[in-house]
């Protein structure tokens, strides 16, 4: 048995902290966008290529229209919503373009970057090429609790050996606390485990979850062992950021994970398959936000992310289901700081 840290990050919930959390710096932290990207790869065009066969019939006409109609492209900013700074950046980049093929391609990239926004009204989609970015960074978790019970959840990599997930995946109050072990399978695709499975026995969470079981602090991390194979350590990681309320409200976000119901009915349904969906955030509070993305048991710990300049930035960690709106633990400044620390511990 590996002894977990006895001194948990001092992030326990109390009313005072709740107030201060609500007063998190309203400005966008440059650090949130630049310091916490583990991979410098431009992900979105790869994503476009992978999803195109599935989505081309619905998405391409929209993208084409936007590419060929600069005025429409300008409206992407308003489609994106209230994210004025992003819209401004997008527009300033496209304003520099002329109509040569290369520049049309660049404009297509800009539109593709927003693809996850455009197709957000679709239902869940099975991710079949889970070796592509970002899907390979999403892991199915098989959790062996201290009392012998088994559970399944989801996590996502933010560094070489750091997997972020829900607090209730790494500390299960009703099942003995810290699990005996968690098997982490990055990019599992039904019967195929493209990067194998790594057994982890080191976990992290915060006092607000471990001691107080507060839904407001339901997040944690798995630190993969030092002998984790190189192909797992080189998968790259999601970026993460803490955003003010006005940028979160109505923001289109993505969620992908491993639902216990194996996805929606149809030929794509399979045990251990990864499913993605996107919707707008519908409400924001100081410690979590909610959305109408369909989830079921097994998806706790899934990343809830957006795309900025081709980088995927996790804004929350999916934790709860509810008919009135599923929800994620919001990445606030204290959460952000802990994620950075845990990433360092797994570097």
């Amino acid at each position: 048995m590996v002894k977990q840290p006895t001194k948990l990050p001092a992030e326990g919930f109390d009313a005072t902290q709740h107030e201060s959390a609500a007063a998190v710096d309203e400005s966008m932290s440059p650090e949130a966008f630049t310091a916490d990207i583990d991979s410098g790869e431009k992900e979105f065009f790869g994503l476009f290529a992978k999803l195109a066969p599935i989505l081309v019939s619905t998405v391409l006409p929209i993208i084409k229209k936007r590419v060929l109609n600069r005025r429409t492209l300008r409206r992407v900013g308003s489609v994106v919503g209230s994210v004025s700074s992003l819209a401004g950046k997008l527009l300033s980049e496209s304003d520099e373009l002329t109509e040569s093929d290369d520049e049309v391609e660049a404009e297509l990239e800009a539109a593709a970057e927003q693809m996850e926004v455009i197709i957000g009204t679709d239902d869940r989609i099975r991710i079949k090429n889970t070796t592509a970015i970002p899907w390979r960074r999403i892991c199915q978790l098989t959790i062996r609790a201290r009392n012998g019970a088994q559970h399944v959840g989801t996590g996502f990599m933010i560094g070489k050996r750091t997997v972020i997930t829900a607090g209730h995946c790494v500390y299960i109050h009703s099942a003995g606390g810290w699990p005996a072990h968690i098997d982490v399978s990055p990019g599992r695709n039904a019967a195929v485990y493209p990067f194998g499975t790594v057994r982890a026995i080191q976990y992290r969470s915060v006092a607000g979850w471990v001691n107080s079981k507060s839904r407001n602090h339901d997040y944690g991390a798995i630190i993969l062992p030092a002998n984790t194979p190189g192909n797992v350590q080189s998968l790259g990681g999601f970026g993460f950021g803490y955003w003010p309320d006005n940028l979160l409200n109505q923001r289109m976000v993505n969620l992908s994970g491993y639902p216990g119901d194996c996805g929606k009915s149809g030929p794509d349904r399979a045990t251990g398959s990864q499913w993605w969906m996107a919707r707008r955030i519908k409400s924001v509070s100081s410690r979590f936000f909610s959305y109408d993305i369909d989830t079921v048991g097994g998806q706790s710990g899934s990343p809830v992310w957006t795309v900025i300049n081709g980088q995927r930035i996790a804004l929350g960690i999916h934790t709860n289901g509810f008919v009135g709106g599923n929800s994620a633990t919001r990445i606030t400044k204290p959460v952000f700081d802990n994620l950075k620390s845990w990433r360092q511990q797994g570097s």
Binding site: A166, C169, G260, V296, S327
Partner: protein, 93 residues
């Protein structure tokens, strides 16, 4: 602090325990999960053990739709939990 910030001070001590059976025999490695809950709940699924047993804990009082699944075999049940209540459910696939 807004109204939506207020988190009910609930116990989260409710538990659903049970077994998954097929033709009267225990089914290991079946997945049991909440597919719909009228109370916010952890989206964690359970895997049955060698005896077909499972535990879903950390639940608030409320009404839940549960599903047990092994491949294409599915069974569904609804339960209503009181605060801190332990309910036993048997699924037959």
């Amino acid at each position: 602090m807004t109204a939506s910030d207020a988190v009910p001070n609930t116990s989260r001590d409710g538990t659903v325990v049970g077994r998954v059976l097929l033709n009267g025999r225990a089914v290991p490695e079946a997945t049991v999960m909440i597919v719909e809950g009228h109370t916010s709940h952890p989206d964690l699924a359970a895997l049955t053990d060698d005896h077909g047993g499972f535990v879903l804990g950390g639940l608030d009082a409320g009404w839940y739709n549960l599903e047990a699944r092994l491949g294409d075999r599915v069974a569904r049940r609804s339960v209503e939990l009181a605060a801190g209540e332990h309910v036993t459910v048997t699924f037959t696939l």
